[in-house]
Subunit: 286 residues, 6 copies
């Protein structure tokens, strides 16, 4: 490469004007959360929550305590670092090592509960799919379990006030599975998603227990109220509520803060922007 | 991390009750099939089937026999191990080394036929896409070729009675391409999928030759007959039949054991739950 | 594996007939472009364009010139090799080292402009999403930024006449994000895509500035005019034009060389094959 | 490369005559012991024996049991495979999985004793070197500890009848440290070697407790009795005996089945082929 | 592995008595210096000091500043961490981040001087070896340059009061080259070692300028004065002084605080424990 | 790190004066030979020459041709690149791709002969060591085989006029084994070295067949004739000649262009600077 151009392009790319919006400014020792370490964290959570399936596949009930101990210790150290990076990202004054440690400990203490919750999702996926042959197959293969695991991990971190990281974790699952669940969404037990590609579940959605969703379903916002400056007002409840036992078939779209009553069935390719009563069946007109 | 909590969480996570549904119990030496080895197996199949594109890119017709020999030997050893793991996963009494060897040999003996079949898919993708410039571009870039390769490999293993592994292989392609084809589906020659994200093809689907499908198309089940206990009855033919030369445009949904007759064209965003006669054109009403 | 079969399968897989369409024939020293090196190239572009987010996360304004210099030098060398491989792929007579160098230099000289353009996309994503908390979050997490970055990089290479590589780069993003933008498409500033899974933007699409698109939207071709031999005629303008400020909500499909006038809003799940006037609102009938 | 030559060289290199002495013939599934797995095995032994120094450096007394459990399980599985490979290498009829398991279990049960023995070597190195500042420094840095650890591990495997592997393990240390101890040598507690490069300790050497040796010292064989065919007779005691508290300074050579009595001191650059009485001092003449 | 034994061995290996001398006790966040990071540090120093030979081999004078800047930044961060670990290893109260930063900065500010010094060693090796064809060959291949580089780096860190790490760095070179130079030794400019295997240079040795040493040479201590408890007294000057232009041929041994006068030549296989006058020639008697 | 210092050190380290002797100047595309690629080349040679021991350990006589073909092709491509880098290193005008190809082809055509020669070294090591149990053990474990293999490979490249690379390859073995054989030395068949650490064999040494050498032996130069400028005259025969069947025991030194007659035995720790008649026995005086 002819050198004057190299020098010139480097100069252009390092002027303050050029980097103004796009260079992440941070003080020494406060880098961004690391995608690769967060991937390790999620893998450790999976290894702890689903022993024998992820992580060390030759695990037995005799060696389970050893592996669990080592994995939790490793998870703790990685989590403290990343949570601290997330806190510093959002607000420098808040990012103490102590605060990060407390959050990591709190998160880890919730793992037994998280495992119980995920077990209900496995059962739901198995029972709802005639092609499923065993819980083991569901845990090993089903993208829904992968996406819901990431969501439930991310949601715990979201509730503990960790910035940025929950979103990165759900976007990992989005990339792997095509299922995009915002970490702030509220989702009950026995949740399942079939096939899943194209599913979107917005930040203020609330789903009861035993909800089932198919590929291509959007639980989105209808429109964004604007503030005086014309910017979308942030933090308003703008996504649907699905009560217990609701099923939404493929490629349907439910928009806005509407309520789909318990035991309702929404057919495929349907567009809904209003409340649906309990036990109703809504189908596309032909 | 303060140690009492670590000890306590390890204890909670290793009680029999906590691990009951979620710990994979297996005897020594019988771990689960390995996702990373299966990835290597699929990569070896691609290197063997599409020499020069995948694997060793500098291959020439002179060195082709050497590379093919080495790749097949490697494929054989990895396949025997993984097939045995899959057999043991499903039923311990069935998982002999001999049985795994026979299946691996049988699979490898089908590779020449598989290559001929995949060649028809390449031709179909090239001829059906005005943006395609050469067979080489299609093989190198098109996600459909990746998804269909995985499907055809997985389908062979499915026909040979290998449990679990075929599904893992099609889910790999699902994750990479957003195309979800059940390994049990029956699909003829010259099959192509354009763009592909969101495509779902169910387990009992039957597709003839020269079928073309666009992104977001679902070939699904309408409803699941329940048995006396209210569980879905497994193994019933519940997905569509698409005869030769059928085209289904983007985001359409075809549900249930319906037949789309040969040369029929299904437009985009259409919802179909009944038979469609040969040569018909079905479009969304506006 | 019993050896006669190994020998026989190797022989079957290396006959000229068997490899005819599927073996990539190339002379020594002219292998195909490498997927893994192209991945490194895209990662280097991201590190240069978004310093502090991708690549070396501890970068500061003081060390920015060093990192930028090293990254551009590395990008240059990798790009020359890959561009040459792409040129040779398409036509051996055209693939000189000099030509590849000129293209690489030209591409690198456009990086400052590319960064300014991508900055407008970041602003658009931030302003259009009530859930976005900062530019940093958008750059770090949003799949749209990843997909649009790849597209804009690929588009520059497309304009410089590089074969194959632009398509491979947009397919990388397609696999990661489910967003499939053809590198030949023309897209203005302040472009954003929400969620994005299932989006398809065809090769001859033209999008103005400030366009916003939601998940599952297709900008496709209606039908392909065939030539005398019944093959699709390549190179015809066959995809939509979206003027400035157009919004298209989720899962809608716009087909053919139609024009969606400026400031028009296309609702979700809509099927459009005709022009839409400026400022119009098109909604699905219920 | 011009192809006829490639084909010809391949042919020459694969004739039976060409490979006769040099191709390792083995049946499927019985490859040679793996250098890289044996390296992992030695690293695991070091991590178990010297917790906090090798392997996971952040280990604490609280997490020690978890790490020890995981490491021993991993060691066991790797050891069974490698021991079996070693047994098959020596004699096919002897290489059952059961035998390999018994040897691995026996070896692991000796680890607590091995650690006690190695602790005496650490103490000896520390006390004998004015430059040593702490046990920790000795364990972390001193090549003697590395070489003696490998020797003691290899010696246990040698006593258990494992072929080939003990020699590979001491040759690893030979390569790293220049210290060549045959795994069959008998060496007491509190053994230390200073600097160590060039030390050779032959197979039938016997060393008491508290022996100290400097760089370049050879404990070798004087001459080999030949059998009727003129071949060296294998298995004869042909190396020196060093009783307790013997010191041998740098570059001295002791050859043959001679006895160096307890508390003797052998100066540097000395050549000894006869017994040395207890407490004697042998120096080079000037 | 049968589980009772596993449990029992784990228990035996984790009792306080068993780990007493051999478990490195440290508080959280203060692990030992890392061998692999120290290897990276030495590699970075080599890349900075010998640009074009180590690290990025395609470097040119135009891109040299970029690479140097990136390497020094990386070196700084790694060095701060490792120096801190070394300080904590020796004495917890001393190991502040600030102190580590100051040492790292001081070390880096000496790099230009270190490079000048190493250049004299390269010149000396080239001029003293009839087989050397160029400075480049000497830098690329000669183990002496590798060993002396590590020594000079380690010596700087030693002078800055860093514990443990200097010794680890010279032991790396010892393992690679068989040359064992204590980091506390004092060595002038234009130092060279031919072949080098087996060379030992003790901690209190002092070497002038233009000294040349051959393989197997020991500059050692004669005997250790013991304190009242019978332990070697640490810190006494106990190794030789070699004045300017001294040559010591292969396998000779010089012991104790003797002085070899300037321009003296010590032949091979000689044993010296007394002063040698300037310009003397000492040869082995035959 | 405080930035002014960083900037200043970078500036100091990049001045022309600072880099004058130590920056390797080369034109684009002509980097130095790569240590890691040369390591791969040596590993490929070992895999080809000792099939089943190095490289793919599961190789059988049936799959040998496939592996040999793939390995030779890979060796060829790597060798062409590295030989070209070596040629350019020495003299730019000489480094054409064609020349590098011819050398690589010539080298590969000698591999069958090289294997026969190495087989004699294996036999010699086995027959000369009472501790050796099989040829396989010798090939797998003995550092002498590793060092002699590297020497014989390097010597072939030296005879073909390749600069720098032969020396790098013998230095690799020097680092691993402590055996330093100059690639220009001339060594007959059935050569063996026992233990080997510290062995030095100079550039103009000539060894007949069936020579055996022990650890610490130097075959060196006595003194260097100086030219008018006081520089050592390069290229003079200055190392010993050892005729057939000579044995040299440990730590002996033979210096200068002396001849050790056939069947002579040189004892340990002996210093020789004059001719030794055939069949003589030379021992150290006591």
């Amino acid at each position: 490469m002819n050198n004057p151009l190299l020098t010139q392009v480097v100069r252009e790319l390092t002027t303050p004007e050029s980097t103004d919006t796009l260079l992440f400014h941070h003080s020494d020792g406060h880098p961004l959360p690391s995608l690769s370490v967060l991937t390790e964290i999620v893998d450790l959570c999976r290894a702890i929550l689903f022993p024998g399936y992820f992580g060390h596949s030759g695990i037995s009930s005799h060696t389970l305590p050893y592996h669990t101990g080592v994995n939790i210790e490793s998870l703790y150290h990685k989590l403290v670092d990343q949570v601290k990076a997330g806190l510093c990202f959002a607000e420098k004054s808040e990012c103490t090592h102590d605060k990060a440690e407390n959050i990591a400990i709190e998160f880890i203490s919730h793992l037994p509960r998280l495992r119980k919750l995920l077990a209900t999702d496995v059962v739901a996926a198995y029972e709802g799919d005639p092609a499923a042959t065993s819980y083991s197959e569901v845990i090993s293969c089903y993208p829904a379990i992968r996406a819901i695991s990431n969501f439930r991990i991310a949601h715990e971190l979201h509730l503990l006030g960790v910035p940025l990281i929950p979103r990165i974790i759900t976007e990992m699952a989005h990339s792997e599975t095509g299922i995009d669940i915002h970490p702030a969404a509220t989702i009950g037990s026995h949740f399942t998603i079939d096939h899943g590609t194209g599913v979107v579940i917005g930040a203020t959605s609330i789903l009861g227990n035993h909800v089932k969703i198919y590929q291509g379903v959007t639980l989105g916002a209808k429109s964004f109220p604007l503030d005086a400056q014309g910017n979308p007002i942030k933090g308003i409840d703008r996504h649907p509520i699905l009560e217990d036992n609701v099923i939404v078939y493929s490629n349907s779209t439910i928009l806005g803060r509407v309520t789909i009553g318990h035991d309702a069935v929404i057919g495929g390719n349907v567009w809904i922007t209003e409340d649906v009563p309990a036990k109703a069946k809504v189908l596309q007109r032909r």
